[in-house]
Assembly symmetry: C2
Amino acid sequence: MRMAELSAESGVPVATVKYYLREGLLPAGERTSPNQARYSAAHVQRLKLIRALTDVGGLSLASVGAVLAAIDGDETPYEVMGVVQHELAGDLPDVPEDPSDEAFELLAAALRRHGWHELKRGPAVQDMIATMVTVRELGHDRLLDQLEAYVRLALSVAEADMETVKGLGSVDRIIEAGVVGTVLGDRLFAGLRHLAQEMLSRELLSARPS
Amino acid sequence: MRMAELSAESGVPVATVKYYLREGLLPAGERTSPNQARYSAAHVQRLKLIRALTDVGGLSLASVGAVLAAIDGDETPYEVMGVVQHELAGDLPDVPEDPSDEAFELLAAALRRHGWHELKRGPAVQDMIATMVTVRELGHDRLLDQLEAYVRLALSVAEADMETVKGLGSVDRIIEAGVVGTVLGDRLFAGLRHLAQEMLSRELLSARPS
């Protein structure tokens, strides 16, 4: 298909498509004349993915670029997920040394009780430690008292996540499903959690004594 | 305490504290002379909260301002949570009419089966619908096949969330715990989910046929 059709099919304006081409987010089409190129269904899908990750997933174009480079490279699906999680974590505040170790131990202990024995300080872990240290500094330790429950439930959510990629035919499709499931799946689950909080808290939290 | 102590105690630079004062994010101190003011422990806590919501929670200063205005206003804790969720949802992409209704019905049905009968189109719901429509457009419907499981688990997570606010003495404290629990709690749970995905997927996803 031509550029105009690519734009119509994907819902992305021509100027934006050209911008993505220049930035290398979208692979070049097959050149058919000096001024024209032909694009495929893969280009449409790639454009939809870029918009999903930016508009709904909230990733920057730089982050999307890093994720797409991993998707297109030789990385295993597992490594691609690492890149996605790194980009989702964003820039982390500096974690002070001592309390961070305490938080790390708390997290490691909760995970060990659920059969996860080798906790390494990757981006996801550093992100959680920064969050835990901040929660403690604010004096809301009761949130951390629920860590055990959160670990157990996160494992169940991840089991449901795995169902979405099992048995997918191609590795490329598994990778894309993993990326979409991580970025949009986080957003979806956070929305459901908010709804559930709303349902459970309506009575509990509706009173405000004057 | 004086400005210098306030800065030292909270870990926020003096220039930043002054900026927050000018922007109305931090209430003015008690004036003790034309050039000096006295600040309290409440100011320290407020500064820590601002930094937690921006640095770790990823909210913009404008969003933090909206959340703080709700905290300081006459809103019930329930209404404050609505403001927080609205700010977390961010700017939503436009959802096309028809598929959005289909997604709404899918969501409403899954929630009904878990006893939640009155789904209204608030910001959290619109956010989820936009996410669901995007997932479907990308052809990753298997993520939506897990909606029922996600609803069930989100309810369990929200039950754990409720434990963190139950029995807190003052309404102000309940509100702050709710805000921290929502903004940082989302981040914490997403981190745990990523770790769990990592644990479950290491073997499944480590192969990449060439």
